[in-house]
């Protein structure tokens, strides 16, 4: 049984890469605008439906995907401007924003149904074929997703740590008022965060769709695990969210193989509960103290 361990971990990391990308998108938006974007996956699905229309008209996959990723980011900017920002001055803003994004996820599903119908659309994989690692066949498409998730994490980390704009965004996330006093435009920061977050969400949703086919409700089940990964790693930590996403994929596989395919969620969420009990801010998150 233990001979399968490397294969299970690798397969789990590969599956966890889409969770990690979505988790990274969620945390970027949350850290910059205090919004838990429940509609992140559905924004990606909307952009990808646009991509499938473009593909059906002869556009090659890679430019189509790039357009979808940019389109997902642009949709995010529009949502921030017209649906989130109007509530930003309200005292209970984080809750309002959460409710807005939950409602938005349903609206997007209805819109997709009205425009494209309620049928599944097959999405081609970016890279065809499998590679055998530790005696187990892994899809190249999943490995590419894992590579992109890691690269995205490195790029985002570099952006936030090493560029003036990234530093500004972190400052704005810490204190909007102080950021404005020193000349930072919090609206620009919010736009950029929503663009980056939704673009990453679209990319992740592409990998999900190429595994499962594209439907309006595609992100419903994965988002459940993404939130688990985010809270496991820490809602305030980008590396933590990515690590949490990967960890969910691995835990899921280990539980499925060594406990039972029937108790995967039970084991995964049992472990998360235990970790959160010991570290309420998540593995890499930092506790936030609020003045009352």
């Amino acid at each position: 049984m233990l001979a399968d361990l490397p294969a299970l971990i690798l397969a789990g990391l590969a599956s966890g890469s889409t969770y990690a990308l979505l988790a990274l998108g969620l945390v970027i938006i949350f850290r910059s605008t205090d919004t838990v974007n429940f509609a992140l996956g559905h924004i990606g699905v909307l952009a990808l439906y646009g991509m499938t229309t473009a593909l059906a008209h002869g556009m090659p996959l890679v430019p189509g995907l790039l357009l979808a990723v940019l389109g997902g980011g642009a949709i995010g900017v529009g949502i921030e401007r017209f649906l989130i920002r109007p509530f930003s001055a309200r005292p209970n803003f984080p809750f309002l924003a959460l409710v807005v994004t939950i409602g938005l996820s349903f609206l997007i599903q209805a819109a997709i149904g009205a425009i494209w119908g309620h049928v599944s659309v097959r999405v081609p994989v970016l890279v065809v074929g499998t590679v055998r690692v530790a005696g187990f066949a892994l899809a190249w498409n999943k490995l590419v997703a894992a590579g992109i998730a890691l690269a995205a994490m490195a790029l985002v980390a570099g952006f936030f740590e090493r560029t003036a704009l990234g530093t500004s965004m972190r400052a704005a996330a810490e204190d909007h008022f102080a950021a404005r006093v020193v000349g930072l435009d919090p609206h620009f920061v919010a736009r950029l965060a929503w663009f980056l977050g939704c673009a990453l969400g679209t990319l992740a949703t592409f990998f999900l769709a190429s595994e499962l086919s594209l439907t309006a409700s595609l992100p419903d089940s994965p988002m459940f695990r993404v939130f688990a990964g985010v809270f496991l790693g820490g809602l305030s930590s980008m590396p933590g969210a990515v690590a949490g996403g990967f960890a969910i994929g691995v835990l899921d596989n280990l539980a499925g193989a060594y406990v039972s395919p029937n108790f995967r969620d039970t084991v995964v969420f049992g472990v998360i509960l235990l970790i959160l009990f010991l570290r309420p801010a998540g593995l890499l998150g930092t506790a936030v103290r609020a003045r009352v």
Binding site: L8, S15, V121, R122, T215, P222, D265
Partner: protein, 391 residues
């Protein structure tokens, strides 16, 4: 004066009589029209299923109306969206029952939603429920007044799949089923059916959590167990993911699956991974070259030109055809009781879509017959009835 009193009394008696008749009259019917309700997930995760069933139902009713109606009545369909949610299903049928109500609910989609509405509709409102897309054995044993079904029961599917795998020569079987008592029971029936047919054969049951998205551990389990064949009682998406992982791991063995995955979507989602998959089907193929299915395709094209022929609309069309046949057999006034008696006259009724159908006071589930379906060259090929399944 006396004549006037008599007239008043006669009028009063007439009025009371009319009121009594009105009080006893069944909802959803007058001398011109029978109102039928249907509900399904028209939005939400299974919208394509619900829309297909509704369109097939409406296509048959439109065709019947254009040919003059049935039993002296035109048929009107009231359709409600339950969004594949049980609470919304109950709200939907309550809306249908407000005002003039419905005479019967036909082709409701799906099992959890039907389970939610049966106590209100069948037990409380005494409204018949016919031909739901889903069902449980306990709904029909003992027969429940007003509830009639065609959708194959899990036990019958398990029995057919076990016997089929054994007949194909398997000796070692792995049954993957959704976790839960209902599905486990179907798996156990497959187990006993297989053991009975493949003398000396061995079976292992493996429950899988509903919604599982990574099938790598299951593939490893299959590689370790090395069964001759798999029986798969999972959802459509999960079956796609399983077959994809099996193909990636070069695990080649016959896979036998159940009715819920016999859809066009399975082929769209599964592509080459589901090629060769075998399954039980409750209906013939939507592209079959038979008079009944040609008629279905013509009616669907006429009333829903944007719809392509597929299993869900064919189910809705076929189930409605059986219901209309019962209405046609009513000799006198159309009442619920007359409908039940007419349904009981269906003995080995050949709809051309389902296996032969029989209803009786003791049997409210109309057929146990299942067809064998196989995916070949990217298409469902639906063959003859599975040997050993009672028609």
């Amino acid at each position: 004066m006396i004549a006037s009193r008599r007239a008043v009394l006669a009028g009063l008696a007439g009025s009371l009589g009319a009121r009594a008749a009105f009080a006893e009259a069944e909802k959803g019917i007058d001398d011109k029209e029978i109102v039928l309700g249907t509900m399904g997930g028209l939005t939400g995760p299974l919208a394509s299923d619900g829309i297909g069933i509704r369109d097939g139902t409406a296509a048959l009713l439109n065709a019947v109306n254009d040919r003059g109606g049935v039993a002296g009545h035109k048929l009107r369909l009231v359709s409600e969206d339950n969004a594949y949610s049980a609470p919304q299903a109950l709200a939907a049928v309550r809306r249908m029952m407000s005002g003039n109500g419905i005479f019967a609910l036909i082709n409701g989609h799906a099992t959890p939603q039907l389970a939610a509405v049966l106590p209100y509709l069948v037990d409380q409102q005494k409204v018949p429920v016919f031909g739901g897309y889903g069902g449980l054995a306990e709904w029909y044993n003992p027969p429940r007044p007003g509830l009639f079904g065609l959708y194959p029961l899990g036990d019958d599917q398990g029995r057919a799949l076990g016997a089929w795998a054994a007949r194909d020569g398997a000796q070692k079987l792995l049954v993957l089923h959704i976790d839960g008592n209902v599905y486990q029971r179907s798996g156990l029936v497959a187990d006993s059916s297989f053991r009975a047919a493949a003398k000396g054969g061995s079976v292992e049951l493996q429950p899988i959590k509903f919604g599982t998205s990574d099938y790598a551990p299951v593939a490893i389990k299959i590689a370790q167990t090395r069964p001759d064949a798999l029986i798969v009682m999972l959802s459509e998406v999960e079956t796609v993911l399983l077959t994809k992982e099996m193909r990636a791991q070069s695990l080649a063995m016959p896979v036998y699956a159940w009715v819920p995955i016999v859809t066009q979507d399975l082929i769209v989602k599964g592509g080459p991974n589901v090629e060769g998959l075998k399954a039980t089907s409750m209906i013939v193929a939507p592209d079959a070259d038979t008079p009944a299915v040609r008629e279905y395709r013509a009616d669907l094209a006429k009333y829903f030109p944007d719809d392509k022929p597929e299993f869900f609309s064919l189910f809705g069309y076929g189930s409605t055809k059986v219901f209309v046949e019962a209405l046609r057999r009513i000799g006198g006034p159309v009442t619920h009781e007359a409908l039940y008696q007419a349904l009981y006259t269906l003995k080995d009724y050949d709809s051309g879509i389902f296996a032969p159908i029989t209803f009786s006071p003791e049997q409210h589930h109309g057929t146990k017959g299942l067809f064998q379906a196989t995916i070949k060259d990217g298409k469902w090929q639906v063959g003859s009835l599975i040997e050993g399944t009672p028609a």
